[in-house]
Amino acid sequence: MTHIDPEALVASLRRMQKAAPATGIVYHLERIVQVVDRIFGYSGAGLMFADPDRTLRYLFATDEAGRSLEHAQATVQAGPCVAAYTTDDAVTTYDVRKDDRWPDLAALLHPDVRAVAGVPVRLGGEPVGTLNVYQDTTHDWEESDTEALHAYAHVIEQVIAAAVEAEEKSQLADQLQYALDYRVVIERAIGYLMGKHDLTASQAFTGLRKQARDSRRRVADLAAELLGEQGRGDPDHAI
């Protein structure tokens, strides 16, 4: 039985609160997905989150191919991750490009996206999004694979719940909505960088993220700046 010393925990969290500025739930989620991606060693990982109207949307992916996977599913509202969300269970595919369940996806996917697995991320027992991983080759997913994904999704759930504890729920919802909404600006900035510097989408995406991280700015603000627009939104909200 796990035991926590509440007094010691409060003293340590108080210490952590003293230093740097607040970042936000989306920043935490991105970092978790990046860590999960490194642990698994799959080709990529990502996170989709549901709108208030329960439409699953792209939130974060570790690379360009993963981004295409989430973007494609958000566009057609079908695919393994959408299915994982609607069925509230793990969904896998040996080769998403040839899977009869989602015939419209292949045309929208980066060629590196082949085997895909998605598991629901829940809050209060209800699915609110999905944790997704993909492989650039076909792959027979085993039960141990999805069990591990469920376990990481469970850690993500604790972090979301912790953020809910730490912040007003409305502010948290605003941060997630901001991230969902500002993906459009980020997509446009990637296109701009590709054209200006003759980059691939992947290079532009990675470069944009790195520059934002290095300068501790939100990706969306940097993207808006590149496009000649003013940084928008509340500076306390981070992507």
Binding site: H3, Q17, H28, A148
Partner: protein, 118 residues
């Protein structure tokens, strides 16, 4: 900031980390606001008395920004040789714990962790 909910969530994270690493337990020590390294919690009683219990342990520093804020210890009840991949995975799991702690503290900055065997 920290109510019973946060303790419950941290307990879940620690248990999750132990399960994901395939070890018998996980323990967490953090610096408090007086820079004392304090025991925060463990998944079982052995985690509180690792030195006496004769466990094999892998401790990874928990780093936030450039600052060490504590350590995560993974342990087995039996003698165990830690492989390089286990050390690396322990370091990554330490990063997860830092993110969870930051969310509990109300949002912070970067973290990294690298493994050390003891």
């Amino acid at each position: 900031m920290s109510g019973p909910g946060v303790e419950f969530l941290l307990a879940n994270v620690l248990q999750g980390v132990a399960d994901l690493s395939g070890v018998d337990g996980a323990a967490l020590r953090l610096l408090d606001d007086s820079d004392r390294l304090r025991m925060i919690g463990a998944t079982d009683e052995d985690g509180w008395v690792l030195e006496r219990a004769g466990c094999s342990a892998l401790s990874v520093p928990l780093v936030e920004g450039r600052e060490v804020i504590g350590e995560l210890t993974l342990y087995t009840h039996e003698r165990h040789e830690w492989s390089r991949s286990e050390v690396e995975k322990g370091a990554r799991l330490g990063e997860l714990v830092v993110v969870a702690l930051e969310a509990m503290a109300g949002g912070r900055t970067e973290s990294s962790a690298s493994g050390q065997v003891r």
